[in-house]
């Protein structure tokens, strides 16, 4: 074979190796010897793949709180018929699987190989799972599939992620054709993931460009990359537009056939599909915008920095940490290294001029103005209602005094119990019951005559005059009473004292 042909054969070697490398963690799992209680070997590779699918499904459902516990319970429900294991071992398995996909050292998984195209040793880094969020209270970490994890999931389905969106679009069309609306909805959800991961990748790319264009060569590469992405997005966008049209037509067809009356479910599905598709399309077109702005601003800004950044590689650990420690350099050197990272110092000064500045003058008041809950002194001429309320309040007070005399009740709960026993429960199904206690609580302690409630004139007057010489003291209790579904009130301690 001549040289040229050899080159053909090895071209794209790295990409091919990368895809092989992705499968590495699964085989690593396979090598782990795990057995159940009956000494049956557990199919770790299978569980690994299933876990990936589980994370994929959760991503699909936009269920982002997926941690070890969730995975363990998923594994349990899936394999408990096959293996005999206790709960703790499910959790251990889940942890092993997660740690295989996402090593606890923090380093990305890597894979070394000899690149026959470039005739040198190389290594590939990839990341399958990543931390997504965490709960500070329980110190639980949640995970989601990273870019390469998605790639791995797709790789087991015979196609690769960069074509994923187009394939989904194609499948959606087919499914709509056949009237498989449920499947179509799922297809759209998958498309959403594609768009999301595309967005994530763009963000990463953006940061990459911002930080580190080091040569004209890499600049060209990024430029090419962005152009490719743009082209691809345009194609997908066109397909989206057509799909929308297609869905619209399908919907109209169904509508005209009166299916929306006969098959409500189908019609609901297609309405949902329309909505979801629109929203995915919207997200997608935002990406289009983003690429354009990246091409126009980010890349140009980065190109400018080309004049300044000059080195190909830099190793903080070697160039700085080791130097400081091994020489050893003065402390101030360390300070100098770190200062670029820290915020600039701000000195806050007091200005003597403030002496002459305007001053805040606030009125001095002897008493705070009470915040009123329900304005009982309202002079609204809504007389029939007021009279009714007045009578009701009086009635309530009578019941209370009666209850106090008979049973020495001292809390609101007990009073309600008393009402129950006397088959008067309907009273606390009324709003005025609650108003009454709240107002009294606000005014506690209540002494007849001391409040400016003159008998007969205001709402509470009649009720309070019943107290005669006694003092009613009301304090908050601990619990919330919820006897009647419409109202709830905090419990109150009620005491009646002789003046």
């Amino acid at each position: 074979m001549d040289k040229h042909e050899l080159k053909e054969i090895t071209s794209g070697y790295r990409e091919r190796m990368r895809r092989l490398a992705l499968f590495d963690p699964l085989f690593e799992l396979d090598r782990k010897r795990e057995t159940d209680i009956n000494q049956n070997t557990i199919d770790m590779k299978g569980l690994g793949l299933l876990s990936l699918l589980f994370f994929f499904e959760n991503k699909l459902l936009r269920q982002y709180k997926t941690g070890v516990k969730e995975l363990a319970s998923f594994l349990k429900s899936l394999v408990s018929s096959q293996y005999v294991l206790n709960d703790a071992s499910y959790e251990r398995l889940a942890r092993t699987i997660i740690q295989t996909f996402r090593p606890t050292t923090g380093r990305k998984r890597d894979y070394s190989y000899f690149n026959w195209e470039e005739q040198r040793e190389q290594f590939i880094e990839y990341s399958i799972l990543k931390a997504n969020a965490f709960d500070l209270k329980t110190n639980t970490q949640y995970y989601t599939l990273d870019e390469d994890g998605l790639e791995l999931v797709f790789a087991t389905k015979e196609f690769y992620s960069e074509f994923q969106l187009s394939i989904n679009q194609l499948m959606l069309r087919k499914q709509l054709d056949k009237g498989e609306f449920k499947g179509a909805l799922r297809q759209i959800n998958e498309m959403r993931i594609d768009v999301e991961s595309l967005e994530e990748r763009m963000n990463k790319l953006k940061h990459e460009i911002q930080r580190s264009i080091v040569s004209e060569e890499t600049f060209e590469r990024y430029k090419q990359l962005l152009e490719d992405i743009y082209g691809r997005l345009i194609r997908e966008d066109e397909e989206f537009k057509e799909l929308r049209q297609f869905v619209k037509e399908t919907r109209e067809r169904l509508f005209s056939k009166d299916i929306h009356k006969k098959e409500v479910k189908t019609y609901e599905l297609i309405v949902k599909i329309t909505g979801e598709l629109e929203s995915v399309h919207y997200d997608h077109s935002r990406l289009l915008d983003k690429t354009l702005s990246m091409k126009n601003t980010t890349l140009l800004a980065a190109q400018e920095s080309l004049y300044y950044t000059g080195i190909q590689s830099f190793n903080f650990d070697q160039d700085i940490v080791s130097k400081i420690v091994s020489t050893p350099l003065p402390m101030d050197a360390m300070k100098g290294v770190l200062h670029p990272f820290l915020q600039v110092e701000q000195n806050v000064q007091w200005s003597p001029l403030t002496v002459f500045a305007e001053q805040n003058i606030s009125e001095e008041r002897e008493e705070k103005v009470e915040q009123s809950f329900l304005s009982v002194l309202d002079e609204e001429p809504n007389l029939p209602y007021r009279n009714w309320l007045k009578a009701k309040f009086k009635e309530l007070m009578q019941y209370y005094l009666l209850a106090f005399e008979e049973e020495k009740i001292s809390t609101l709960t007990q009073f309600m119990d008393y009402l129950d026993r006397n088959s008067l429960s309907s009273i606390y199904e009324q709003r005025y019951f609650y108003d009454f206690w709240i107002i009294l609580h606000q005014r506690s302690p209540i002494v007849n005559g001391e409040l400016d409630e003159e008998e007969g004139k205001t709402l509470l007057g009649d009720a309070i005059s019943l107290l005669e010489t006694k003092i009613l003291v009301i304090q908050e209790g601990n619990e919330i009473i919820n006897r009647y579904s419409r109202y709830s009130i905090q419990d109150m301690e009620i005491t009646l004292e002789e003046n």
């Binding site: 050292t105 923090g106 380093r107 290594f123 880094e125 990341s127 931390a131 965490f134 500070l136 110190n139 639980t140 970490q141 949640y142 940061h207 911002q210 930080r211 580190s212 601003t297 980010t298 140009l300 800004a301 400018e304 920095s305 300044y308 950044t309 000059g310 080195i311 590689s313 830099f314 190793n315 903080f316 650990d317 160039d319 700085i320 940490v321 080791s322 130097k323 400081i324 420690v325 091994s326 020489t327 050893p328 350099l329 003065p330 402390m331 101030d332 050197a333 360390m334 300070k335 100098g336 290294v337 770190l338 200062h339 670029p340 990272f341 820290l342 915020q343 600039v344 110092e345 701000q346």
Partner: protein, 246 residues
Amino acid sequence: MNYSEQKIIKAFQLYTKLARDGVADREAVQLYRADDEIRGLLEMFSQEVDAVVISTSEQLFLVPKTKLSFFHVSNDWIKKNFLRSSSTNGDIYLLYFSTIILFGSFYDTYQSNEPTRQFIRLDEWIRFIQERIDQLKSHDEEELKEVEKEFSYNWRLIIEKWDDMDDIKETVKKQSGNTISRLSFIDTVKRFLLSQQLIQEIGNDEITLTEKAKTIIQRFFMEIEYNKGILEFIYGFDRRDERASH
């Protein structure tokens, strides 16, 4: 060169914002990039205060450059805001030391410009510090003492501080705040870096670098001007010369 008043004011406004916050937004970036005069002025201003303007397409950073810049946060400020009231300069130096090692653990290869790890666990960070402390200890004690006197270095203080601490205080439940242990010290450093938006917590005692930290590492430390003999530049100090003159 003659600048119009308007330009000077514009540049000064931009500078004030940077001086106040250390960072300015996209609008500032556009202004900075679009107008040569404003850019020139801004660079002059920052040069006067020994700072550098670093621009990305989204943000402008004002970064204190050398030991002289009065933009550096003072030791007192760090003490007051982050450390225990009884802390000494030794604590601050240890805080610096730990931070530098943290960055080093993310950027420890010549193979790529990207960080080599995605996150680091706090206990591993402590292990890295221990490694470096051990390395420091391998220097001859006498020699360390000697250099110390000569240039008022304080390496032994750092070593002592670190060695005096237990890994964790077993008697307390929460390894943060005021107990004296390595873990709680690292927790303090973590809080400091969080407040500076240099790291981010991702739970499970793991932390990762923020975009700001990455930007500064790659754009400042990899910039050719600063990178040639980076420590000498930053410290403005050539050890051999000093020694020779003594």
